[in-house]
């Protein structure tokens, strides 16, 4: 492909009254050392094995989101602690008339958590997916997979018809 000349691009920017500098020859983005030597081999391996490398979602966990996740965990711990005492006070633990009412209550309590917090709850705390699913019949028990878990939550929160604004996802 033949490139447009820098002069043409400069002229076009000037015609638009733009003071943007010309793009430098060198990109401000960097790659790890030797990346482009390795990339063709990685592609060949992908073609040979058909395996897709795991996409890293780590960059999505920005410091702000991490803080939100931690804050959510603290809130959850406080909530669980409080719930423990309420249950003790009621002795028999009869807080809800029906199982459905109980489930609705829990889901509404978790309504403000974002997906990262849910994921963190499952993967980084002692709380298991089973405990979060609250015994719903369709729950995909076993080791929680992020996709399965999030899909499950989407489906079931909608089942409970908490209202769009009340869902865990903002």
């Amino acid at each position: 492909m033949e490139k447009a000349s820098k002069k043409d691009i400069r002229k076009e920017l000037s015609a638009l009254g733009s003071s943007l500098p010309s793009a430098g020859e060198e990109s401000p983005f960097r790659v790890p050392d030797g990346y482009f030597d390795q990339l063709p081999r990685s592609v060949q391996e992908r073609l040979a094995t058909g395996e897709k490398p795991r996409t890293s979602w780590l960059p999505v966990l920005s410091p702000r989101r991490l803080q939100l996740g931690i804050a959510s965990l603290v809130l959850l711990a406080v909530f669980s602690f409080g719930l423990f005492f309420i249950q003790k006070e009621t002795e028999q633990g009869v807080l809800f008339a029906t199982e459905e009412e109980e489930s609705e209550f829990y889901f509404s309590m978790y309504a403000d958590l974002d997906p990262f917090s849910w994921y963190d709850l499952v993967l980084e705390t002692d709380i298991t997916a089973d405990e979060l699913y609250f015994g719903l019949e369709e729950a995909p028990y076993g080791d929680p997979d992020e996709d399965v878990f999030l899909d499950y939550l989407y489906e079931n929160l909608r089942t409970f018809e908490l209202g769009a604004g009340d869902y865990i996802f903002p």
């Binding site: 492909m1 490139k3 447009a4 401000p28 990339l39 063709p40 960059p59």
Partner: protein
């Protein structure tokens, strides 16, 4: 370096198509990578997408009819893959556009593989504030110095629409930088 015609000839008529494809990857990997990287910002994401692009290219090359140049064709796959990735990321986490923009900006701030100066960083953030397709057009013109006629083939849009899109993008970036 081989021309596209020579590479395609090796791929279709040579005795080792995998080797010919490897030469294609080597020839275009950097341009494809930088194009994708500017759209998704994060190196790890760009790396995944670029590999996907070449895997798809390998599968589809058998049916490549040469209506467009090899380079244009690869850019087209790369653009679609990068935009699909951003869309998936947005829907997966139910993010509105503005949150995705914020996320990408934050990635830029924390990216260990980015060392642009303050002006470059501001320009990048301004670019991230653009709608995705305008962002693609701006990057292709400003960074890749692509001619509008080639861009029209990559994005399947008229040259007039692309010029208008680029002009809007430049105006918005100027405004963002001045504020």
């Amino acid at each position: 370096m081989y021309t596209d015609e020579e590479l395609l000839d090796k791929f279709f008529h040579g005795d080792n198509p995998a080797y010919a494809f490897n030469l294609i990857v080597r020839k275009y990997q950097q341009q494809v990578y930088w194009h994708v990287r500017r759209l998704v910002i994060c190196h790890e994401d760009a790396n995944d997408i670029v590999q996907d692009v070449f895997v798809k290219a390998w599968k589809a090359l058998q049916n490549f009819r040469g209506d467009s140049g090899l380079f244009t064709w690869l850019y087209r796959i790369a653009t679609n893959e990068a935009l699909s990735f951003l869309k998936r990321k947005r829907t997966r986490f139910m993010l509105p556009l503005v949150d995705l923009e914020r996320q990408l900006s934050e990635s830029l701030e924390s990216d260990v593989h980015y060392d642009g100066n303050a002006i470059e960083k501001k320009i990048q953030k301004a670019i991230l504030s653009l709608p995705e397709k305008q962002r693609v057009v701006f990057n292709l013109r400003y960074y890749d110095e692509m001619k509008y006629e080639d861009m029209a083939r990559v994005l399947d849009t008229s040259e007039g629409a692309l010029k208008a899109s680029y002009h809007h993008a430049v105006k918005k970036i100027e405004k963002y930088i001045r504020k």
